[in-house]
């Protein structure tokens, strides 16, 4: 019996067993497409800017804001406490470790909600739960929280409630003064006392 045969047999066997270990490539697991579609049509995956503002003000420990814009935009302006995970860097630098933490609600933020939505779909497909999208993104945040518009006088009472909350949030986030102290200049009406009877006739 040829010795080479034995060596070659063992070599081949070792190589074949080796494939069991080496091809365990990290293939991201995906959820079922049906399930993804079910989740996509749920309106509950959106949170409003008001809800986000409330959570930030109340210091909600479960809140995790994720800014999906580029690092430059993130450095220019972002929401308080937001971390930066750019959309195209989701799968690098262990960025996936931010997601799927039990008890954390991840809210994606971008300029509008398109990029945040894309990020939501990507993370959802990867199987991460409790992820949300801030409706309207930072543009909407600017319009509603940083610079809220006073509703018309004829608007419903709830609109005014929202407005007053937003004004409060505005103060919280920007430190702006209250509305009434707005102009700083007070029109002082100087009322002169009429001199009494200086030369009011006489005798």
């Amino acid at each position: 019996m040829n010795k080479n045969y034995i060596i070659l047999t063992i070599l081949m066997l070792v190589l074949a067993v080796g494939t069991l270990f080496l091809t365990m490539k990290h293939e991201p697991k995906q959820i079922d497409p049906q399930e993804l579609l079910q989740e996509i049509i749920q309106p509950t995956r959106y949170v409003s800017t008001d809800q986000v503002a409330k959570m930030i003000i109340q210091g909600d420990p479960s809140l995790m804001l994720v800014d999906v814009r580029s690092i430059y935009e993130y450095e220019e302006y972002t929401l308080p406490g937001a971390i930066n995970v750019p959309l195209e860097e989701l799968l690098v630098n262990d960025n996936l470790l931010y997601f799927g933490i039990p008890g954390k609600k991840v809210i994606f933020v971008s300029n509008d909600d398109i990029q945040a939505d894309q990020m939501w779909v990507l993370t959802k497909r990867l199987g991460y739960g409790s992820t949300y999208v801030m409706k309207g993104g930072i543009n909407c945040w600017m319009q509603t929280i940083i610079d809220p518009q006073r509703p018309a006088e004829t608007a419903a009472a709830t609109d005014f409630e929202t407005y007053s909350f937003r004004k409060g949030a505005q103060m919280y986030f920007t430190g702006a003064g209250s509305e009434d102290a707005g102009s700083g200049q007070v029109n002082v009406q100087v009322q002169r006392r009429q001199k009494s009877n200086v030369a009011a006739g006489g005798c």
Partner: protein, 200 residues
Amino acid sequence: MGPLIPNGVIGEGWDFVIAILLGIAFGFILEASGFSSSRNLAGVFYGYNFVVLRVFFTALIVAMVGLMYFDYVGWLDLSKIFILPTYLTPMIVGGVIMGVGFVVGGFCPGTSFTGIAIGKLDALFFTIGLYVGIFGFSLAYPLFAKFFDSGAMGNVTLTDVTGIPAPYFALAFTVVALAAFWGTMFIEKRVRKNMKQYKF
């Protein structure tokens, strides 16, 4: 890096050149392994010569395990490789016909050409028969067309069908092949003992 042509490492027009080079190498190896002798080939069915099984199984497991390492190292993207579409029943029937032809004629298509190359008459007649058969099938194709296209499963692999990862198949095939190598060696010895003469 690979596959080379789809990834643009080698230009489009080179595929025929590569095919010729591979064909030459294939023919050379077939002839060098003794595949131009129909006695050698038919020996598998009679149990006195298992060189066909050994050569083809060796090629199979080396290529299979090698491709997996290539994929792992990044030399070849296995997901981009063309996979022959599967037609289950026609393929089984075709395999049976091929096997019968192999044991009766003593050649398979490729080896019959190596037989011609070294001037074997039986190989020549086998090849003539091959072409007559191809011609006959082409003419009669409308009769078989329905069966020919039945049982289409698409470009699937065993992993796609069963969900078992490819390395397990590779390991299973390797174990079976290696067991066959050693098993057939003993069969060969016993059968050859009873033979009066054994020539290629």
